[in-house]
C-alpha cells in the first residue's frame, strides 16, 4: 500500500494548445513547494497530477500543496493492487473509523482488462459496506461519504476531496512589481495577483530611522508567508529616507503624501523593468485613506507607463481582512511598528490632488532627485525568499 495525493486542475485544462505548458508549470511549482519533503515524486498522467509521498510526510505535504495556485482540489489516496478482494478489504479497513449515515461508491474502471465493469464494482463494494456498517444508507446526491475507487493498472482509493484556491500556476502570467508596505492590504493584493499566475517582485521602501529594523523584518516575514503560495519571492528593500526627507523639505506639506507615493511608483517601475515585470501591483482600495481617492490614484498613476493593477480596489476593509486571515498574513500585518504610511502624515492631506499641481510642486525636486533614485535602487537590499 502506497500513499499519493491526487491533484485536480480545472481551468488550466481549458487552455487549448498551451495546455501542456500550464501543466508542466503546475508540476514544477508543486515540486518547488514540496522540495523540503524527501519522499515526493511528481508524476503527470492523463488529466491529473499524482504526487507520490510517504505516509510520514503525507500530512505536511497536503498542507503545503493546498497553497499552490492552479489546483482545484486534492485527494489523499492510497494505491493498491488491482484485485477485487484486496480492494474490498482495504476499503473496509480504511472507512472503519469514519462516522457517516449516508454514502455512495463512485467506481471508475480505466483498465479494461479488469474483470468487472464500473457499475458492478460500485454495487459490490457498496453491498460490502452496507453489510459491515450498521444503520447507514446509500444516496447518490450529497452523501456524507463518497468512496471513490479508480481501477487502473493499480487501484486508487480515496474518499476526501480538499478544495484548494484554484487560479493559475504562478509564473504563467509573467511578473509584476508589488509595492509592499507591511500593512494588511499589500500582502493580500500580492496573493490575489499570484492567484492569477503572476510572479511577484516585492518592493518595500525603508525609511530608517523613521521606520525601524523591526518594521523591515515584518515585511520580510510577510513576504515569506506569501512565498508559501508563490513558490519564491524576490523582495527589494529600497532605502528611501533621503528622498523622503527631501520631499518633506522641498514640497508643500499638504501634498507630501501623494508626492512620496509618486516617487515610490517611479522607483517601483524602474525595478519592474529591471526584472522584466510587465506591471505594477498595489494594495490600494478606493477611498480607504486620503491618498486613495480617484484623484489620488490618478496622481500616482500619472508618473508610470506600465499598467497598475489594484486587485483590492472594490473591496471593503473587512473583506480584505478576511482574506488576510485566511492566507495567514493578518497576525503579522497588525504588529505595531511604524511604517512609511503612518509617519510624516500631514495634518490636512490633499484629498483631491491635481496632476498639474503635483508636477509644479515637484519642480524643486527635479534638480536633485535623479541621482538619489539611482542610488536608492543600487543600494536596495535584495531578499530571495
Amino acid at each position: 500500500m502506497r500513499h499519493v495525493i491526487l491533484v485536480r486542475y480545472g481551468e488550466i485544462s481549458l487552455k487549448g494548445l498551451n495546455r501542456r505548458y500550464f501543466i508542466d508549470l503546475l508540476a514544477k511549482n508543486i515540486r518547488a513547494t514540496l522540495q523540503s519533503l524527501e519522499s515526493v515524486k511528481v508524476q503527470k498522467i492523463q488529466g491529473r497530477i499524482i504526487v507520490h509521498i510517504s505516509e510520514e510526510e503525507l500530512e505536511s505535504g497536503l498542507e503545503k500543496i493546498q497553497k499552490v495556485f492552479g489546483i482545484v482540489s486534492v485527494s489523499p489516496a492510497i494505491v493498491i493492487e488491482s484485485d477485487f478482494s484486496v480492494i474490498e478489504e482495504t476499503m473496509l479497513e480504511q472507512i472503519k473509523d469514519e462516522k457517516f449515515e449516508t454514502f455512495r461508491v463512485t467506481a471508475k474502471r480505466g483498465d479494461k482488462n479488469f474483470p468487472m465493469q464500473s457499475p458492478e464494482i460500485g454495487r459490490r463494494l457498496g453491498a460490502a459496506v452496507l453489510k459491515t456498517v450498521p444503520d447507514i444508507k446509500v444516496v447518490m446526491k450529497n452523501p456524507e461519504l463518497n468512496i471513490c475507487v479508480e481501477v487502473r493498472e493499480e487501484t486508487y482509493l480515496y474518499y476526501k476531496a480538499i478544495q484548494c484556491n484554484g487560479g493559475l500556476p504562478v509564473g504563467c502570467s509573467g511578473k509584476s512589481a508589488v509595492l509592499l508596505s507591511g500593512g494588511i492590504d499589500s500582502p493580500v493584493a500580492t496573493w490575489m495577483m499570484a492567484k492569477r499566475g503572476i510572479e511577484p517582485i516585492g518592493v518595500h521602501f525603508h525609511s530608517f530611522p523613521f521606520t525601524s529594523e523591526r518594521a523591515k523584518e515584518k515585511v520580510v516575514d510577510l513576504a515569506k508567508i506569501v512565498s508559501h503560495y508563490t513558490g519564491h519571492f524576490k523582495l527589494y528593500v529600497v532605502p528611501f529616507t533621503e528622498i523622503q526627507t527631501k520631499i518633506v523639505e522641498l514640497c508643500p506639506e499638504r501634498q507630501t503624501t501623494i508626492i512620496i507615493r509618486r516617487y515610490m511608483m517611479r522607483i517601483a517601475e524602474a525595478i519592474a523593468k529591471q526584472n522584466g515585470a510587465l506591471s505594477l501591483t498595489t494594495g490600494e482600495s478606493l477611498g480607504q485613506v486620503a491618498s486613495q481617492t480617484q484623484e489620488g490614484l490618478g496622481a500616482t498613476n500619472d508618473v508610470v507607463n506600465l499598467p497598475v493593477f489594484r486587485p483590492l480596489i472594490g473591496m471593503d476593509k473587512q473583506e480584505i481582512i478576511r482574506i488576510a486571515e485566511k492566507i495567514g498574513t493578518f497576525e503579522t500585518s497588525i504588529l505595531p511598528y511604524e511604517d512609511c504610511c503612518t509617519i510624516f502624515v500631514p495634518k490636512h492631506p490633499e484629498t483631491k490632488p491635481k496632476v498639474e499641481n503635483m508636477k509644479k510642486s515637484e519642480i524643486p525636486m527635479e534638480a536633485v532627485v535623479e541621482p538619489m533614485i539611482k542610488k536608492a535602487i543600487e543600494e536596495a537590499e535584495i531578499y530571495k525568499l
Binding site: 530611522p209 505595531p336 511604524e338
Partner: protein, 390 residues
C-alpha cells in the same frame, strides 16, 4: 562605530566575571541540588553560598531569600501569595499608579474580581506623597506595594519613611517594594524600612537574565505560586537555576562594594546631561527632576516622535529607550508620564537614558551633541516651530 549603551535600565551587559563563573559552573558544576550524590551536594552548597551573599547585600538572613525567574515572577508571587491566603472579602490592596506592569496588572486582575484596590497617586516629581498613604492605607489593608525607583523616570521613594507610616497605621499590612531599579544602586536596609517583601533581579546589575529573588521577612506566610518538587523550602518548585544563581551572586559581590563610588560617578554623568538640557535645550522637559535616581534620566522633547529619535541615535551607535523597554512597543502605555501630568505633546517625545558606571563623560558629551543635532534636524523636517523659550 563605537557603541554607547545607555539603556541600562532595560538590561545591562553581563560582567566578564559573571560570564566566566557561569561558564565554569555550566561545564563542571552541573549537578541538581536535589540529587543525593556528591555532585548534587556540591551544587546545593553553591546555591547556599550565593543565597548568603545576596541576603547580606540587603541586611537580610539567608533563609529570607527565595530565588525566582526574575522581577515579574517575584512581584506576582508576593501579591498573589498574600492575597490568595485572605479569607472573605473584607480587605483592600494598595499600590501606586506608576508601578511596573508586573505589579499593576496583578492588582488590576484582583480589581476586576471585585476586590478593593487603591492606587496611590504621584506628585509631579514622580514621588508618592506621605499624605496619600495616610489616606489610603488602613486597618484592612492586606498588602501595599510601592516601588523603590521608578523604571521610566527614575523617581525615588523614601521607603524608610513610608514603611514607618504604613506600619503605624496597620502593623499587619505587608509592605512590599519592587526594588529592581534600585538594587545595588541605592543602598537599602530592609529591616530599617520595615519591609516584608522585596523584589530584586540580576540582569539590571550585570548579572544574567532569567534569575531574580524575592526577600520575604521571616515568619511571613506566603502561598507559593509554583508547586512541584518542593525546592526553595516548598516556596518555589523547579530545579534551581544554579549557573544563573552563581552569576547573580557574582554580580552582587562585585557591585556591593562599590555602591557609593558608582553612585557618585553616575550622578556626575547625569548632571552633565541635565545641566546642558536645562540651560540650552529648547522645548525639552526633564521628568522626575528632584529626588530621582542618578541611573535614570527621562527627557521629553516637544514635537519629536521618540521612536524616530531612538532609531536615529541607534544609527550612530547610541542605544537609548522610549519609556520603558517592556512596554515601549505598546503606544498607549504612557501611564507614568500621564500620572506625573506631562502634556501629550511632550509624552510622545520622551526618551529614557539609563546610565552605568562604564559610561564616560566623553560619551555623554557626544550623546548630548548627537541628541541636540538630531532633535534640531527632526524638528526642521516636521516643520516644528519651538514655542517656548527658556
Amino acid at each position: 562605530m563605537d557603541e554607547i549603551y545607555l539603556d541600562n535600565a532595560a538590561t545591562t551587559k553581563p560582567l566578564n566575571e559573571v560570564i566566566e563563573v557561569m561558564c565554569d559552573h555550566l561545564k563542571t558544576n552541573y549537578g541538581n541540588p536535589s540529587s543525593l550524590h556528591s555532585k548534587g551536594f556540591k551544587a546545593e552548597k553553591t546555591v547556599k553560598s550565593a543565597r548568603k551573599k545576596i541576603a547580606e547585600s540587603i541586611q537580610a538572613a539567608p533563609e529570607e531569600i527565595f530565588f525566582t525567574s526574575g522581577g515579574s515572577e517575584s512581584d506576582n508571587t508576593i501579591i498573589r501569595g498574600i492575597t490568595d491566603l485572605a479569607r472573605g472579602k473584607d480587605y483592600n490592596l494598595v499600590t501606586t499608579v506608576i508601578e511596573h506592569p508586573a505589579i499593576l496588572e496583578v492588582y488590576k486582575a484582583y480589581e476586576t474580581k471585585g476586590i478593593d484596590v487603591r492606587y496611590l497617586n504621584v506628585q509631579q516629581n514622580g514621588q508618592i506623597a506621605l499624605e496619600e498613604i495616610k489616606q489610603k492605607v488602613d486597618q484592612k489593608t492586606l498588602i501595599c506595594s510601592i516601588m523603590g525607583v521608578n523604571n521610566e523616570i527614575g523617581s525615588v521613594n523614601d521607603l524608610v519613611v513610608f514603611g514607618k507610616t504604613i506600619k503605624a497605621i496597620n502593623p499587619h499590612c505587608v509592605f512590599h517594594t519592587d526594588y529592581v531599579q534600585g538594587y545595588m544602586k541605592i543602598p537599602l536596609n530592609v529591616k530599617q524600612a520595615g519591609l516584608d517583601a522585596v523584589t530584586i533581579c540580576a540582569h539590571k546589575i550585570g548579572g544574567p537574565k532569567g534569575i531574580g529573588a524575592l526577600y520575604i521577612r521571616k515568619g511571613l506566610n506566603v502561598n507559593p505560586l509554583i508547586l512541584g518538587g518542593g525546592q526553595e523550602k516548598g516556596f518555589r518548585s523547579g530545579t534551581e537555576n544554579v549557573p544563573s544563581i552563581v552569576g547573580f551572586a557574582k554580580a552582587v559581590e562585585i557591585k556591593n562594594s562599590s555602591i557609593n563610588d558608582r553612585f557618585e560617578k553616575v550622578l556626575k554623568l547625569k548632571n552633565r546631561m541635565t545641566v546642558y538640557f536645562n540651560e540650552k535645550g529648547q522645548d525639552v522637559k526633564i521628568n522626575g527632576k528632584d529626588h530621582s535616581s542618578p541611573y535614570i534620566l527621562s527627557l521629553s522633547f516637544r514635537g519629536i516622535k521618540a521612536e524616530v529619535l531612538l532609531h536615529a541615535l541607534e544609527a550612530m551607535g547610541i542605544y537609548v529607550s522610549t519609556g520603558s523597554a517592556c512596554s515601549s512597543n505598546k503606544k498607549k502605555h504612557q501611564y507614568v508620564l500621564e500620572a506625573i501630568g506631562l502634556e501629550e505633546s511632550y509624552r510622545e517625545g520622551t526618551i529614557r537614558i539609563s546610565f552605568s558606571e562604564d559610561n564616560t563623560e566623553e560619551e555623554i558629551d557626544q550623546v548630548i551633541q548627537k541628541i541636540e543635532e538630531t532633535v534640531t534636524q527632526l524638528r526642521l523636517l516636521t516643520k516644528y516651530r519651538t514655542k517656548e523659550k527658556k
